[in-house]
Amino acid sequence: MLFLIIKRIFLGFITLFIVSLITFVGTEILPGDACTTYLEREAYGAALEACYKRLGLDIPAYERYISWAHNVVQGDFGYSLSGQMPINEVLGPRIKNSMVLASAAIIIGIPLALILGIITALWRDKLPDITISTITIFAMTIPEFISATLLILIVAIWLQWLPGIVIVPTDVTFFELLPNIILPVIAIAMIMTAHMARMVRSSVIQVMASDYIQMAILKGVPYWKMVFKHVLPNALLPAINVVALTIAWLLGGVVVTEVVFNYPGLGRLVIESISNRDLPTVQALAIILASIYVSINLIADLMTFMLNPRLKSLQIRK
């Protein structure tokens, strides 16, 4: 068990290492370097050389990778070209804001998805299932920027209930932020919930068809007791990993949503730094977003380890 966990964590670090290589090599292979792309037409002569000097681009690539990786491990991502300040200072408040947004969406989304998924599975092919399933199909297929735009159009412009665009400085306090994040949270939670609800539904249906559920019925176990004791623990366990993958994948959608709502999070920083051709910041973002992905999956794996009696008991039969 302990070995499995350690192995899993180790593999997570390997993944991050490969990610760092990919981003580094990627930015190296693609035409132009940080200075030429940043300076664009002014990339010649003294300005270019000064830039090279400042970023240390005048030394060989592998040495640069080593010193960069060395700094990253110590939590230093280097110097932002467009912000003209250390990347860490740029990142700090952005990470906090994005976290607020994502956690709110997850906190609302997961319980809602569980409830909807279970309802649709237990009333399979009946009215509640057909209604909810149709809605989830729409919610999960429509791109975030469309649902976000529609939300703004309806709630903020036509009904005028909530502010449509977030116009706050990057370092506001949580309570100032709150009314501004309702719409973005709804936009993100909608698609996330729809995905998870569908997975929960199919997982529950699969378990309901199993021999041990038939046995529980034949044992005379009352329906709801059967659902909570026999069905759900077995249905939700395999769903954990898939849910984690989904959440991680939807990080991409957060980028778009943040742009629509003008929300000062990591997502908008992605667009800003790419528009500004600020490669060091892009590299930092890649590492950070990948770490989020890896840790979400790691948490899911650990949860599965903890909850699955087959792994817990260690006596794995072949």
């Binding site: 038939q214 046995m215 019925i217 034949l218 005379g220 009352p222």
Partner: protein, 676 residues
């Protein structure tokens, strides 16, 4: 009547087809279950026996519905009952012991909890009383260390133990009626006999009525007072166990009993043509018409009703049952095997073969050697003569399939040599064999559903070996395929069929044809009849025997079923934990003296005869690994001598009848003990 526990009246259960037709799985079933009696319901797959058992609990599987009829428990119809009322009957009045307990126990709940759940639902005991009851129940089903067992999860138990837990759970509510749905299918021979013995003693002690559903007439014969034979959703024969087994007056039952291979009988069992009709394809006449040897014109148009035969106390659904007796009616007649003139040439020779599943360590991998002091299979010496059928017998974990894989080149051996024809050594690695050697050894697998590519037509399946080995194509290839199909008694029109459009028996025939397509010298048969229904099994065994007589092929036949082995093989090798115990001509292996393990195996065989009872001589412990030294059977041997058996590898002793037995006990003593 007072003593009737459950009565089923005119019950029909079915489903709606895609076209909207009503298709029955159960048709007009009427029967009563009396207090204290054990009723055996026997039928092949698709006969509706499991649907009937579930209906007895008021449970109809999703997609099915009750067409008509009722299922009365104490004058209330279970099939119309509200689920809240059913919860009070299920588990408390009527309990179910399922097939494959491994999948019927909820994986995330401990054994103790699952039994406790039944107790708290169906008894008024308090927590401490329930805890005591749990260990009492686990004790009753003879599980080792019942107190710690309660804290285990289902996956930590062996198949036999899981089945026992299911029994304990069913007994928790003290039901009046126990339903057993194939409770021993999938268990090893000895475990099966033990579980059956347990069930019989429970029935006797508690006076519970039991309904025992199985495809295995052997098991049914051991437990039942009364037997119901089902065919295509109908009861075709019903009566006291002894009458049914000794005087099976329905042609289907007669054929079924004839097609079961028996230990007491040499030679191949008689086979029945065709297979059971699918639900929905049953016409207006008798459902057995197509396969019946005594059918007449009227059977085609009219469906017979159950008729009571008073001298046998039996109900039979047949117009012509009286004619059956004219047909040289005798179960004990069987096709005698024609003894093929065996050539003395040996064709395959295994010397000191051992095989290990242990993962190679990195260092060993570099030096390309396998280090495992206690390999899964060890010291196998078998000589196979040209044209004979040699059988490898043993329970799961005996290494019989492992040896087969190595011969086929699918699994590398650790030590020893496999020699083929004229002492030429055969590599245990496929890649080092030439095309001719590959052609010479072919495999047939247990389950044709897995061994035939579901996306290939029969034509594509059969053309693969023909193209590969003989480079055939065009008209020649086609002609060859048709010839092959004829050889396995299948018509030309099967060429365009996909495996899913064939019955189990037909699929296995295609698999046999594919093996013969290579014109092989040796065919390795891995449990080839285990997945088939009994009546189909007999036909496939006969087919294999006929092909061999025509073509002079050598078979290496792996099976767990001693009766099947008895029927088909010339020589038998008995294996336990990857070590040979006994080897000799098959007629001798079934005589004394034999290795203590062979004796245990033979004793556990269930014969479809109420007069032959199994003899349980050893515990059914499951051993994970073979012992490091000494005799492989030391853990379970009822005749163990002591340290000698634990430390020294037993010597080979050769009896007067040519049987070689690996045991420390002198043959004289073995014989004396076994005859007494």
């Amino acid at each position: 009547m007072e003593n009737i526990i459950q009565s089923i009246k005119n019950l029909s259960i079915g489903f709606k087809s895609k076209k909207g037709d009503e298709i029955s799985i159960l048709r007009n079933v009427t029967t009563n279950i009396k207090k204290g009696e054990t009723v055996g319901i026997v039928g092949e797959s698709g006969s509706g026996k499991s649907t009937l058992a579930l209906a007895m609990m008021g449970y109809v599987k999703q997609g099915l519905y009750t067409i008509k009829g009722e299922c009365l428990y104490k004058s209330s119809n279970l099939l119309k009952m509200k689920s809240r009322d059913l919860e009070k009957i299920r588990g408390r009045k009527i309990a179910m012991i399922p097939q494959n307990a491994g999948q019927s126990l909820t994986p995330n709940l401990k054994i103790g909890y699952q039994i406790d759940e039944a107790l708290s639902l169906h008894t008024s005991l308090n927590k401490t009383e329930r805890n005591n009851k749990i260990s009492e129940l686990l004790n009753k089903v003879r599980l080792p260390s019942p107190d710690t067992m309660a804290f285990r999860y289902p996956h930590e138990l062996s198949g036999g133990q899981q089945q026992r837990v299911a029994v304990a759970m069913a007994l928790a509510g003290r039901p009046d009626l126990l339903l057993l749905d194939e409770p021993t299918t999938g268990l090893d021979v000895t475990t099966q006999a033990h579980v059956l013995e347990l069930l019989r003693s429970i029935a006797k002690d508690t006076e519970t009525s039991m309904v025992y559903v199985s495809h295995d007439l052997g098991a049914i014969a051991q437990v039942s007072d009364r037997i119901i034979v089902m065919y295509a959703g109908e009861i075709v024969l019903e009566g006291p166990a002894r009458s049914i087994l000794k005087n099976p007056i329905h042609p289907y039952t007669f054929g079924l009993l004839k097609s079961i291979p028996k230990l007491s009988l040499a030679g191949l069992p008689g086979s029945m043509p065709g297979s059971q009709p699918q639900p929905g394809s049953i016409g207006i006449g008798c459902s057995f018409y197509d396969r019946c040897s005594i059918a007449e014109e009227k059977c085609k148009k009219n469906s017979p009703n159950l008729e009571y035969v008073s001298e046998l106390k039996t109900n039979v659904r047949c117009f012509n049952y009286k004619n059956l007796e004219k047909f040289n009616y005798k179960i004990s007649s069987s096709n005698q095997k024609i003894n093929v003139k065996k050539e003395i040439n040996q064709i395959l020779n295994l010397t000191d073969v051992s095989i290990s599943y242990a993962k190679q360590k990195l260092l060993d991998q570099i030096f390309n050697k396998i280090s495992d002091t206690n390999p899964t299979v060890k010291d196998i010496n078998i000589e196979v003569k040209k044209g004979e059928t040699i059988a490898l017998v043993g329970e799961s974990g005996s290494g019989k399939s492992t040896i087969l894989k190595s011969i086929a080149g699918l699994l590398r051996t650790k030590d020893g040599k496999i020699k083929f024809k004229n002492d030429r050594e055969l590599s245990s690695n496929l890649k080092n064999r030439d095309s001719n050697d590959l052609r010479a050894i072919q495999l047939i697998f247990q389950n044709p559903d897995e061994s035939l590519n579901p996306n290939h037509t029969v034509e594509q399946i059969l053309s693969q070996p023909l193209k590969l080995y003989f480079g055939l194509n065009g008209e020649k290839l086609r002609k060859n395929i048709i010839e092959l199909l004829q050889k396995v008694r299948l018509g030309e029109f099967y060429m365009t069929r996909y495996p899913r459009q064939l019955s189990g028996g037909e699929k296995q025939r295609v698999a046999v044809a594919r093996a013969f397509a290579a014109k092989p010298d040796i065919i390795l048969c891995d449990e080839v009849t285990s997945a088939l229904d009994v009546s189909v099994q007999a036909a496939v065994l006969n087919l294999l025997q006929n092909l061999k007589e025509d073509l002079g092929t050598t078979y290496i036949f792996v099976s767990h079923d001693l009766a099947v082995v008895r029927a088909i093989s010339d020589r038998v090798a008995v294996l336990y934990q990857g070590r040979l115990c006994e080897i000799g001509p098959s007629k001798n292996v079934y005589q004394f003296p034999s290795h203590p393990y062979t004796e245990v195996l033979l004793g556990a065989v269930l014969e479809p005869d109420p007069d032959i009872k199994p003899k349980l001589v050893a515990e059914d412990i499951v051993e994970e690994k073979p012992p490091e030294k000494g005799c492989s059977f030391q853990g379970r041997c009822p005749k163990i001598l002591g340290d000698q058996c634990k430390n020294e590898t037993p010597p080979w002793q050769i009896g007067d009848n040519g049987n070689a037995i690996r045991c420390h006990i002198p043959l004289k003593d073995l014989k004396k003990q076994q005859l007494s």
